[in-house]
């Protein structure tokens, strides 16, 4: 039997499609991250902790919601690891565990106002509907 942590790891890897073992621990993702100072866990730590399977602290961390999904780390990672996708998958795991707050297309008109950037909508839709 796999323990819960391993199942979560597997799910995160599956959802993100990321191979965390490709990481060579250069830290360029965290070097590039514009939201770094807001985060308790940083992009490279997400990758590392998912690799080691130490996912519990990530699930509890606020950092999940601080990631801007700007994909700068994805763009610059020399090893093609795509840390943002890992963060997104971890976030999704939490959201799934909470159960309810999935977004449906019907919900969108209600939340739209002129100040919401298009990108945020697209990104929210991506985050909440998988």
């Amino acid at each position: 039997m796999k323990d819960k942590n391993e199942l979560i790891k597997e799910q995160i890897l599956y959802q993100s499609g990321v191979n965390v073992r490709k990481c060579m621990r250069c830290g360029k993702c965290s070097g590039t991250c514009p939201g770094y100072d807001e985060m308790e866990y940083h992009p490279h730590q997400f990758v590392y902790l998912v690799e080691t399977g130490d996912i519990e602290p990530l699930l509890k961390s606020e950092s999940l919601y601080k990631c801007l999904s700007c994909f700068a780390c994805v763009d610059r990672c020399p090893r093609g690891v795509e840390p943002a996708k890992i963060i997104e998958a971890v976030r999704l795991t939490v959201i799934r565990q909470q159960g309810k707050n999935k977004l449906t297309p019907d919900d969108i008109p209600a939340v739209i106002d002129d100040d919401i950037p298009q990108q945020a909508l697209v990104s929210a839709y991506r985050k909440f509907t998988r």
């Binding site: 490709k22 060579m24 621990r25 250069c26 830290g27 360029k28 993702c29 965290s30 070097g31 590039t32 991250c33 770094y36 100072d37 940083h42 490279h44 730590q45 700068a72 780390c73 763009d75 610059r76 990672c77 020399p78 090893r79 093609g80 690891v81």
Partner: protein, 664 residues
């Protein structure tokens, strides 16, 4: 009809204890074609060999089979013995009844049965053997070195030292290569020019060495020992024999704004120029893209002031054809293009430079006369950030850099950091690294000194982003050990760009028919045991064209390549392994399948006229194997659909005969 002798060795008790040798004698003497079968305690001993020699003469044997130890052990011994008795040495076959029979089986009866079968297989094979004569190829005693950097110069010097003539082809107007652009060399910090330029002069003055500068290889044909090479000597519009290198023309030329490639575009030169003070040959060259006389026919100033009358506006490219016995590729490397690394602002700010540019900035003959001034405003940089692994160690799919480690960056960055702190102790120097790799003699000691004694900040982490703002470079980076994101206001950023093979390497490899890896480095014949030879016979590798290397390693490899070349050139003739492929022209389709699988490019195609059975003639495309180049792997024999290709020593018929004997 073959007359075959079979000789069964006891190898003391090594064979005889498990194999009933007299039973083997009895069984094998009944085989067709066998005229004598004997056993003896030690066939490889002098008396054993004498026995074989006598039997060959007395019984007029046409082939012999030795049932003994592995052919890897004594095949050569028995071939020599056969040759001494007047039998072609390739009429010898060995049945391995020791390593592959008596030593691995315990039951005497079954081991004896197997020994008999192995003997039969060898007899079946030897019956189909044909006498083979090793071919001989004359060797042209001159070598060609392509590339005149430190690798090429050292190789040429070593070859010349052994008394052989050697030509260097260099595409630039001067030899010297990348090393000429360096300031100091790690880990001893001697100045690059001080150790390189004497070698350049030595090369130019050596009677055995001919330098073709501003030239390139245009065409290569032939094979080991017998290459014919066409060299294009580009027009430099200056008579090399007349020019004294006084440099007057380079001062008077009115076209002054040509980016100076030697200083990586950080200053400018004239349209007529000598690349640098110690250039070899020290001869001016006119840049046809900028010269007013060559472009518009107006000016002619250099011609007027040249006292030697060396300027020749009507000079044309010259094609020179030479013959060589060996070719050394020493085409070197260059830093990669940093276009794809926008995050480091390389194309946006003049103050983000490559390490090679930094070498020039530190060099007394460089654009700033050796004073470290940043390119944008010629001010002293107070904070310098070095970024390692720019474009090295990238994942293939990221398509941004190279997968390999460029090997030299850790050390030259440590050197740069040390030199900076030594000359300008008031500068803050940061080095961002992923790993520091220092596996060379005195390398780690050097690096530790830089970190410990020179107070260079080594930070494990990577720079994520650089923005140029009001003359400062905002560097954003991670410090993995402190778990912090750093924001540094730097004055100068130096990128340790990955190195890649020179762009001329791929077309050259095609001409040489030498194989390359996916990164366009030349492949060596064996990664461990033949590191300076290309799989293509007669082609040798020196320096960074085979993989990233520092100077000591390059020089060592250059010497190794030279010794291989000398080993080849000191022979008057090459003896070729006669067990090579050959083509039956009548069945050859000319389909090029064999050419495609041959790792040595030993197969070429010719158009040949054939007389057909109906008395007409027909021109057909047929394969020809060059026995000097073929190594006898047999890949072509299987690839050939019509089985026109066959292998001497391991012919299809021989192997069928062995299979039949074993499965009988």
């Amino acid at each position: 009809m073959q007359r075959i002798g079979v000789f069964i060795c006891h190898c003391g008790s090594n064979i005889a204890a498990t194999v009933d040798t007299s039973a083997v004698v009895n069984a094998l003497s009944a085989e067709p074609g066998v005229v004598c079968a004997v056993d003896y305690p030690y066939m490889c001993s002098a008396s054993g060999q004498d026995m074989i020699k006598e039997a060959i003469k007395e019984k007029e044997l046409t082939g012999i089979v030795i049932c003994s130890c592995s052919p890897r052990m004594h095949e050569a011994t028995f071939r020599k013995a056969a040759a001494a008795a007047g039998l072609n040495p390739y009429m010898v076959e060995i049945a391995n009844i020791r390593e592959q029979c008596s030593w691995v089986h315990k039951d005497k009866q079954t081991a004896t049965e197997k020994a008999i079968v192995l003997g039969r297989a060898a007899i079946a094979k030897v019956s189909l053997n044909t006498p083979l004569q090793p071919g001989e190829i004359p060797v042209t005693k001159r070598a060609l070195v392509i590339g005149g950097g430190i690798a090429g110069i050292q190789t040429a010097l070593d070859i010349a030292d052994a008394g052989f003539e050697v030509d260097i082809v260099e595409k630039k107007p001067t030899i010297g290569g990348k090393m000429a652009q360096l300031d100091k060399t790690f880990p001893t910090l001697d100045c690059a020019a001080c150790i390189l330029t004497p070698k350049m002069v030595e090369a130019s003055q050596n009677e055995k060495i001919r330098i073709y500068s501003y030239s390139k290889v245009e065409e290569v044909s032939g094979f080991v020992g017998n290459f014919t090479v066409k060299i294009r000597k580009k027009a430099r519009f200056v008579d090399e024999n007349k020019c004294t290198g006084c440099g007057l023309c380079t001062e008077k030329c009115p076209v002054k704004n040509v980016p100076n490639e030697f200083n990586l575009g950080m200053d400018s030169r004239h349209a007529v120029y000598i690349p640098f003070a110690q250039a070899v040959p020290k001869v001016a060259v006119i840049d046809a893209d900028y010269c007013r006389m060559l472009k518009d026919g107006k000016c002619g100033l250099c011609s007027k002031i040249c006292g030697a009358g060396a300027i020749k506006y009507d000079q044309e490219d010259e094609i020179i054809e030479n013959k060589y016995g060996a070719i050394v590729a020493a085409t070197g490397c260059e830093p990669i293009d940093l276009d794809k690394f926008d995050e480091f602002a390389y194309s946006k700010s003049k103050d983000v430079i490559t390490s090679l540019q930094f070498e020039r900035l530190m060099n007394a003959a460089g654009p700033t006369g050796g004073v470290l001034l940043r390119p944008s405003d010629n001010k002293h940089p107070k904070t310098i950030v070095f970024v390692q692994c720019v474009g090295s160690r990238c994942e293939a799919h990221a398509k941004k850099g190279k997968e390999y480690c460029s090997k030299i960056c850790c050390m030259y960055t440590a050197k740069h950091a040390m030199l900076t702190r030594e000359k300008y102790p008031d500068t803050d120097v940061y080095v961002f690294y992923i790993d520091v790799r220092t596996p060379g003699k005195n390398f780690d000691e050097f690096y530790r000194r830089v970190a410990e004694e020179y107070g260079v900040h080594y930070i494990k982490g990577m720079v994520g982003k650089i923005c140029a703002e009001n003359g400062t470079l905002k560097v954003q980076a991670s410090d993995l050990l402190a778990d912090k994101q750093l924001h540094i206001d730097a004055d100068l950023v130096v990128l340790a760009a990955a190195i890649e093979p020179d762009r001329s390497t791929r077309p050259l490899a095609t001409m040489l028919t030498a194989s390359m890896d996916t990164n366009d480095f030349f492949t060596e014949a064996h990664p461990k045991l033949r590191p300076v030879e290309s799989p293509t016979a007669g082609i040798f590798l020196s320096g960074c064209c085979q993989g990233p290397k520092d100077i000591p390693e390059t020089v060592a490899q250059a010497g190794a390549a030279a010794s291989k070349v000398i080993g080849l050139l000191c022979k008057d003739r090459l003896t070729a392994n006669p067990c090579v492929a050959h083509c039956d022209e009548m069945s050859c389709n000319g389909c090029s399948t064999c050419e495609n699988v041959c790792p040595y490019h030993a197969v070429t195609y010719i158009e040949k006229e054939f007389r057909m059975p109906d008395r007409t003639t027909k021109i057909r495309r047929v394969a020809q194997v060059n026995p000097a180049v073929c190594q006898g792997c047999g890949a072509c024999t299987v690839a050939c659909p019509s089985k026109a290709m066959d292998l001497y020593g391991f012919s299809g018929k021989q192997i069928y005969a062995e299979v039949d004997a074993i499965c009988r």
